[in-house]
Symmetry: C2
Subunit: 203 residues, 2 copies
DNA sequence: GTCTATAACCTGATAGAC
DNA sequence: GTCTATCAGGTTATAGAC
């Protein structure tokens, strides 16, 4: 629980303890399923202190959510924008970057996607990040291939192949279809398979 | 709102009015985000009446959830099990069946997947539906192809290609990447594209 | 900064009249 | 079956002592 940037003592500040607890609880239970008491308890501090540092449950949530969206975007945007890499290199990088992030945080995609669906989260609507993606090096390279597949299709498909297993994990494991171990090994295989599949789709 | 099985008067029974309202509100807000008062208001009846017909919020939710999971399973299981169709036919059928269901109910997948993640929904763990899928005609046909791809990979990928766009829709539209119209047209295209892609992946 | 105590409000569920 | 009124318990947020 106590995450340290380096070795040694360096106890987390109270503020960071609360935020770390909030990350954990919000991700597991969502906004409306989380009680501020849960966060306080998880952080080992008092409920009043949570409101002292963050004004409200909503503001604390917004900070966590903003951070998580940033994590997901930083995983993909720089790769898409890089003018010095080939299309194939970008695909491999996106896959490996995402698997690195999601393997440590299986719940991240479904948490973000679902909360974004329930509330209309303001800071997504504000940044025109969607339109920016349409003009990245990645999308241009796709167009230049003149493959008979819309670049948006291609991107959606790749993200689906990467992210969906994590979203579906609860159904797959709880229904007895695959074990936790089998899931892990499938994920590892996919890191190699998805780039091959995307190549096949392009032709 | 008033859904009728045939033309003519046939007003919904109170019980069905409540259930219909519950479907709508639960799907939009999830279990913990929904207040029973919201459902009562949506149904145009009183809060007390909700508890008269269904014993509790949880029981009403369970009925809705069970129904939705059934919808998703009935869309796919019979197709997977059918011994009289080819692999290619099954793929096309799954895709078109799912698009038919999901086009009318975009929120269905993320609702089910997320609630299943938060709570451990009992009736999924009980039915060994996961293991059953592994022994369907579909999975056997995949093995017989001796393609160098695990059938579970193949199924996960196909479901990802079908379902992920609906799960990601809030991000895609709210971020300004695509409009609602563009989303619809992309979905229609995918019904033809996904079977082709799956064929490409198989080789 | 951190705590205890509590205010102010909300929510699920029920009692009881009709 | 359906309603109004209300209870009992939980939840966010704050007041105030230390």
């Amino acid at each position: 629980m106590a995450r340290r940037k380096k070795a040694g003592p360096d106890p987390l500040s109270t503020e960071e303890k609360i935020k770390e607890a909030a990350r954990k609880v919000f991700l597991r239970k969502g906004f409306s399923g989380t009680r501020t008491r849960d966060i306080a308890e998880e952080a080992g501090i008092n409920l009043a202190l949570l409101n002292y540092y963050f004004r409200s449950k909503q503001k604390l949530f917004d900070e966590v959510m903003k951070e998580k969206i940033q994590t997901l975007l930083k995983t993909i945007i720089p790769v898409l924008q890089d003018n010095s890499t080939t299309l194939e290199e970008k695909i491999k990088l996106m896959v490996s970057n995402y698997f690195k992030v999601l393997s440590k945080n299986n719940d991240l995609p479904i948490f973000v996607l679902n909360e974004l669906r329930k509330n209309n989260i303001s800071f997504i609507s504000n940044l025109p990040v969607g339109k920016a993606i349409l003009q990245t090096s990645f999308m241009l390279q796709l167009k230049q291939r003149k493959a008979n597949v819309d670049p948006v299709h291609f991107l959606m498909s790749m993200l689906g192949l990467i992210i969906f297993p994590f979203v579906a994990k609860p159904i797959l494991t709880q229904s007895g279809m695959i074990s936790e171990r089998k899931f892990q090994s499938l994920i590892e295989e996919r890191e190699l398979l998805i780039p091959l599949w995307m190549k096949a789709i392009l032709k």
